[in-house]
Symmetry: none
Subunit: 215 residues, 2 copies
DNA sequence: ATAAAAAATTTCCAATTGGAAACAAGGGTT
DNA sequence: AACCCTTGTTTCCAATTGGAAATTTTTTAT
């Protein structure tokens, strides 16, 4: 009888560690490794493939596929890639929960005050607000902008998408490329293209708090 | 000097094999393992994290992260999962190519407190927060939910897209189809599929105010 | 039923992963 | 310069992965 694989054990420990957080509010965003095997098997069977055929398609050994499907090993990234390519799987689909739930049934995800997933950086203290649903169109953060002198403003950030900024408390200075910096007070909001460099600085005595939604 | 890792060599062969398919077809869904390291590093740096900090967030060793970023190992699935969870990465984002940076035609749109475009309905007092930019991905409202008895709750609303709800002040009762009503207090938030019928009722003495973002 | 064939699992072992610790490469300070 | 501190890379080795082949289980045919 095979011992419990290490990564399963690790997962269990981790699970216990964050159980409180989870029990009440947020579950994990991503498929647990525990579920990877099940997903792969579903997909293979849905294509009426045997392990042998899947093996030929992916270039992986039968035994390897078997072990993956039975959660006996944690496949390496390159193996997962071969799997996805060989079986014509959309990678993201492999990692997100089957979304029949989202599309048809509809789902909702409640996050209590202060119970989002913390996500600190040297500059900002992000708190991810919705952690249960994957493949969301928007990513909402409640962010604490630390009070600091204007000189040491953080570097531009630049990325895909659009962003909505709403000042919950305090006041901030919004730097955006191509524009003059502008001060935003509590209740003010801004909407901008993230392709522009942008950054935030608190201008209040205390830290400022903003809601930041990215699409 | 480290030898070229096995999986890189394999990948190169694969790449050649499917080159024709690729050149013609648009495909390009996935990041080549060759790029995984680069992507991870990009993401880490974009959050201004050091390897040490990322290590704490993910529970992975500094050395492991370093090797991943330098494409010296092919991380196992469980490691990739920890990476994504720790850094708050949306998994799919990790595997899809960043679209070409949008030409920096960026724009921004500031809305001062109370200066949005009013949009009253019998049930809610919406205030459209970003009025200058058209064809946005998100539509943000600051909405006053009138205090009223629970009996006369408004009818379901049901439409396309997803919605983020953040309670700015007061408390509300969120009704959503398929779920029990849930009370949200100041600072709480909810994310849901708008295809579900949904409606809001204030449970505080005074009117409640929420931020409502639709995508 | 029983045998034969097909499919899936397990064993064995070489090759690879991942963590601890040693090592390098800056940055600042005295 | 000598020192300390931080960040990132490399080395070493125990633990794990992944493939070939043996074994078991399931299916099909007789």
């Amino acid at each position: 009888m095979p011992e419990e694989p290490h990564f399963l054990i690790e997962e269990k420990q981790r699970e216990e560690k964050i159980q409180i957080t989870r029990a009440e509010s947020n579950a994990e965003s991503y498929v647990e490794p525990l579920e990877l095997g099940k997903r792969v098997r579903e997909i293979r069977l849905s294509q009426n493939l045997t392990l042998e055929e899947a093996s030929k398609l992916t270039g992986l050994a039968r035994s390897t596929l078997s072990k993956i499907e039975n959660d006996q090993i944690s496949p390496t990234f390159s193996v997962v890639t071969k799997l996805a390519n060989g079986l014509g799987i959309d990678m993201p689909q492999l990692f997100t929960r089957p979304k029949e739930a989202v599309a048809a049934t509809g789902r909702r995800d409640i996050t209590r005050k202060g119970e989002g997933r913390p996500h600190p950086t040297p500059t900002y203290e992000h708190e991810l607000l919705s952690t249960q649903l994957t493949s969301k169109k928007m990513i909402p953060y409640r962010t604490v902008v630390r009070a600091r002198s204007i000189e040491e403003y953080p570097e531009w950030v630049r990325h895909e998408g659009e962003e909505l900024l709403y000042v919950l408390s305090g006041s901030v200075l919004l730097y955006t490329e191509f524009y003059e910096p502008i001060e935003l007070m509590e209740g003010d909001s801004a909407y901008y293209d993230c392709a522009m460099g942008h950054s935030l600085v608190s201008t209040s005595e205390d830290d400022a708090v903003v809601l930041w939604v990215t699409a």
